[in-house]
Point group: C4
Chain length 201, copies 4
């Protein structure tokens, strides 16, 4: 099976996830600047962080599927489980924001990030196994230090969030922000492979 | 008429259905782990079940239309009626979950599953009739024991839900879960036909 | 400019319109069958009617753009104004249903149907003028008796809705249902042209 | 990387933004014409203005990417930041409308328009730099007087909104309406380039 419909369906789901989060932002109660700040001060920042995360996943998905020609049933389900965890972002983002970055919601947000990252790794592994030896994706990913480091930082963020004191909660959020910043730069390994060997289709 | 726009439109509708269900999940009232469990304990499971069902329909739709070259007006309306019943999933899922899996909502959910399955069968039949004798889809589907068994299990689930006692309600839900698990494995018959004879376009 | 992105964007907008209407349906207050009937008795019928209307527009859009090769800026805006009036369907459907088919909301719904039909005619005219003499769409549409009759029935429906007595309101709704039924059969004229002369691209 | 998925993803996001705004319109409380006017009198106008703005961005995006063959990582992020600011339109539109065009919300709406325009300019610049010398987009855009004038008008609108008296607020809104009207005509420069030199792919 070609990848076109999997890409179109994923584009649709990611486009909806990235857009519906803004619907969770409640319009300010009053019409003053203070009301905007009160209602959306942190809300816009939470939205921006989750927007960037979904953008990163879309970018990486786009890059990864440049190196994929055919999909199997396993790849379809690997992709669906990634989309499932990404689809929880509006929920965990809204909860985290509504509670003013309380302890458990920040932990839930981090867990959501971690589960999405694990689903990403599983999808990558399923594709590489499906491509067999000499898989162009396997070559492009290499030892995947950046991916592994992200997992470590997500776990570090979750651990930081455990005590629940203000300082540690901000440190947890800091971990999530650092991972996002690291990934805003798209995966040059795949760009290089495409340039050197041509896209596989 | 080629199938490209029908596939794109269906991808769009299914992407929205699968994503908006998460908007029905209400964020927990408090910020504790207990509040999350209270608010989303069963909600996440209901969402997961419906997510898997929509995923199954997308997978099977994707597989089926691999064997379809041209669509007629009848196929367009067959497809729209399938999308109509799938679009009710967010509604019946939310009701079932809000009422804590009460008797009538569980029956309504099962009826929704059954109606979607019947719409699927009608769509399949319309395509096969449109393809005429030697239809590659007819060959791939064969006697369709898995599809027939699903119908039986949906009806069994609805019957189990009728008494409304806790035990029977869980049995009804069990039937729906079993069908979902059976279909997570995509339709190998179509994979085999594609491998053996090449995709028809 | 090719038509591919105009078709993709329209598919996206129509997919969202057809799906978000179900979000307007409020889940029943209780868990009994009576509560379902009370909450969704007419709601599901209203949703079905609007779902069919959006489905008809999608089908006809799909058929029409089979005969269109290139789009101009005027076609883009003609298409956007059609999408604008279709995007009001969830709003007018919800209002009509919330008020139990009261006089003004039924008039508003009919006006919405009429405006969408007028936008459709304008879009058709813009495309035909853009294609110039010998336009395949002009040949396919012909004298467009069905389209003209629909306009007459919409206006008749709006007039029936004016008195606001129960009988006349139902007659107005009857007009809208009749037009929907007449259009469920897709436009065979275009099918015939495509079969006789081949698709233009 | 080809532009197809970037276009598909942007189409999806823009389709959702343009459609979800109508969900922000609250159905009238009563069933009279007065209730409709009260609830949606200005709401429909605000929606129309934002609908036209998103339509303009879609049209211009469509035109611009006619002249783009390949995208880099920078183009992907430039595009995502444009989509981010456009995704705030439902939020600022709803706030402006809920507060009856109060001073700060009108300023926020203008700022949103300005930020989206700046993101557009950055995206344009990133593409032109990526295309290198002899960039077809650079030729098509030329000195971009219309784009510059729009920025001036947005800033003028924001300045007009600062005093907060009724007259000045309406003048600010007038500025935004004038820009929209100026852009409803799609960018003929790109049409001319495509006609003269052929599309680059």
């Amino acid at each position: 099976m070609p990848t076109s419909r999997l890409e179109a369906f994923s584009d649709g789901v990611l486009a909806i996830i990235i857009t519906v989060m803004v619907l969770e932002l409640k319009a300010p109660e009053g019409s003053s600047f203070g009301a905007l700040l009160h209602a959306a001060g942190t809300g816009l920042l939470s939205y921006l962080l989750s927007f960037i995360y979904v953008g990163i996943y879309w970018n990486n998905h786009h890059h990864m599927f440049q190196l994929v020609n055919r999909v199997s049933g396993g790849v379809l389900w690997g992709n669906l489980s990634l989309l499932f965890f990404l689809s929880l972002f509006p929920y965990t983002t809204a909860w985290m924001d509504d509670t003013g970055y309380a302890r458990v919601p920040v932990l839930a947000y981090g867990t959501n990030l971690l589960l999405a990252a694990i689903a990403w790794f599983i999808l990558q592994a399923v594709i590489i196994r499906h491509q067999g030896s000499g898989s162009p994706l396997a070559k492009a990913v290499g030892r995947d230090n950046k991916g592994r480091l992200s997992l470590v930082l997500y776990v570090a963020g979750i651990c930081c969030g455990l005590p629940g004191e203000r300082f540690w909660t901000w440190l947890a959020l800091g971990c999530y922000v650092v991972v996002a910043l690291a990934w805003i730069i798209p995966d040059r390994r795949i760009d290089r492979i495409i340039r050197d060997h041509g896209a596989p289709d």
